[in-house]
């Protein structure tokens, strides 16, 4: 591929080469694409008067392709602790699952509700040991006996304790919303409104996040996982007729396999014998 030319390192600044190509294509009648592919994440957390609210977008990407339009980025850690994860999906899933099971074992040992600082220390120790190679940036929030807590954990293992936090590629867009609207002593509805606004700001302004908004509200002794709390990107152009094969193609055989099998439960069957 390389011709006999000197390789010049790319100069900084905007490259206008493609603009000429676009003009040439426009003259020939080719329309530019109206939508851009998005990659990345926006995750946020916020402390309000009764507890903690976590929020996340729902897009998972493989390079430039959206591989999951509705994934779950708010992971369960303990009944009173949830964790949003940004970065490599495998890393966030694995590390939150691992710490979640460690917390469960710890609960069995101690007989007490898990504390957020326990989850924090376990996560931070693990991430520090791997010196940033486990690419998981987390927003950890929960309510325990000592009160509501919100922490951010970075891939290298450093942590911050904050009243409001954002992570991911959309963190700057979401942080701008929080910095202008956050105040202490928010009510539940006000808090949810601000979290949703911050995530939407990430979804629409970041070439990094998209699809729906998930929210999780944690208060003392109670949690509400609002999956797909807002769907600002509905699929608008759906053909009402459904899909039909073109007329030239003959249908030889139709077999429908339901994806979920319905199982019949027989009441009062034989008891299990040892």
């Amino acid at each position: 591929m390389s011709n006999s030319g000197i390789d010049v390192p790319p100069k900084g600044g905007f490259s206008f080469d493609l603009c000429r190509r676009n003009d040439m294509l426009a003259k020939k009648g080719v329309q530019p694409p109206s939508s851009f592919r998005k990659t990345g994440t926006t995750i946020v957390g916020l402390v309000f008067q009764d507890g903690v609210i976590l929020g996340a977008d729902t897009r998972a990407t493989e390079g430039p392709i959206v591989c999951d339009k509705n994934c779950e980025k708010i992971h369960y850690m303990a009944p009173n602790i949830y964790c949003c994860g940004a970065g490599t999906a495998a890393d966030t899933e694995a590390v939150t699952d691992m710490v979640s099971s460690q917390l469960q074992l710890h609960r069995y040992h101690t007989g007490r509700e898990s504390r957020v600082v326990t989850a924090l220390t376990l996560l931070k120790k693990h991430l520090f040991n791997y010196q940033g190679h486990v690419q998981a940036a987390l927003v950890l929030g929960g309510v325990d006996v000592t009160g509501p807590h919100l922490h951010t954990i970075y891939p290298h293992g450093s942590t911050d304790t904050l009243p409001f936090a954002t992570m991911g590629s959309g963190s700057l867009a979401a942080m701008s919303v929080f910095e202008s609207k956050y105040r202490e002593g928010l009510t539940r509805d006000e808090g949810i409104t601000i979290v949703v606004e911050a995530i939407c700001s990430g979804i629409f302004n970041d070439l990094g996040s998209g699809s729906n908004v998930d929210v999780c509200v944690l208060t003392k002794g109670h949690k509400e996982y609002l999956r797909n709390h807002l769907l600002p990107n509905p699929r608008t152009f759906v053909n009402p007729k459904g899909f039909t094969f073109p007329k030239k193609i003959e249908v030889l055989l139709t077999k429908i396999t339901p994806l979920k099998e319905k199982v019949e439960v027989i009441e009062g069957g034989d008891a299990m014998e040892e």
Binding site: K124, L127, Q135, P155
Partner: protein, 236 residues
Amino acid sequence: MDLKEVNLSAPHSMGTTIIGVTYNGGVVLGADSRTSTGVYVANRASDKITQLTDNVYVCRSGSAADSQIVSDYVRYFLHQHTIQLGQPATVKVAANLVRLIAYNNKNMLQTGLIVGGWDKYEGGKIYGIPLGGTIIEQPFAIGGSGSSYLYGFFDQAWKEGMTKDEAEQLVVKAVSLAIARDGASGGVVRTVIINSEGVTRNFYPGDKLPLWHEELEPQNSLLDILNTSSPEPMNI
């Protein structure tokens, strides 16, 4: 792809200004509150003065992760040491524990620390532990990226036997000077005063700090320079 790499995998560092100063009766530790990831300020209100024991605190600078882990380990070891000894640990022991971890892991760590506290044997003491793991006992210590701007200031403004209020004012003034000149320092100024009576934490929000040469005063007209008050002279 670029956005993702800048935000997530850039190690979290605290371009910082940290200061520890002894006075007649104890020590005053001071720090700014900015934690940066590249050019983004990840935490504008961080607390860089961490407790090791009831009477010993440490100011952290450099890599956020490294300094947090080092102070966690030292707090753990000091706790064991206190139980075994049966009385509060001395500042010298705390500082040496920090030094041992910093020196023995010098290839992997990138953190500069200032350990300060009060004990009944030596009184108030400050120990500086810069990057390689040296330990040096000093009447005052400065560290972090913002400290470069303070060497001359301290040479002139430092004196022996200050009172508690003089020492704290010196620390606040110094941190605010460094914040004015160092892009990697900013936010609020936090101070911790440790003496025989105990520990006092203070907080100085950004708008309460003095403005220095060429920093803009809030004013209605940019031409209105005749009415601005002149900044405080350097000599205390």
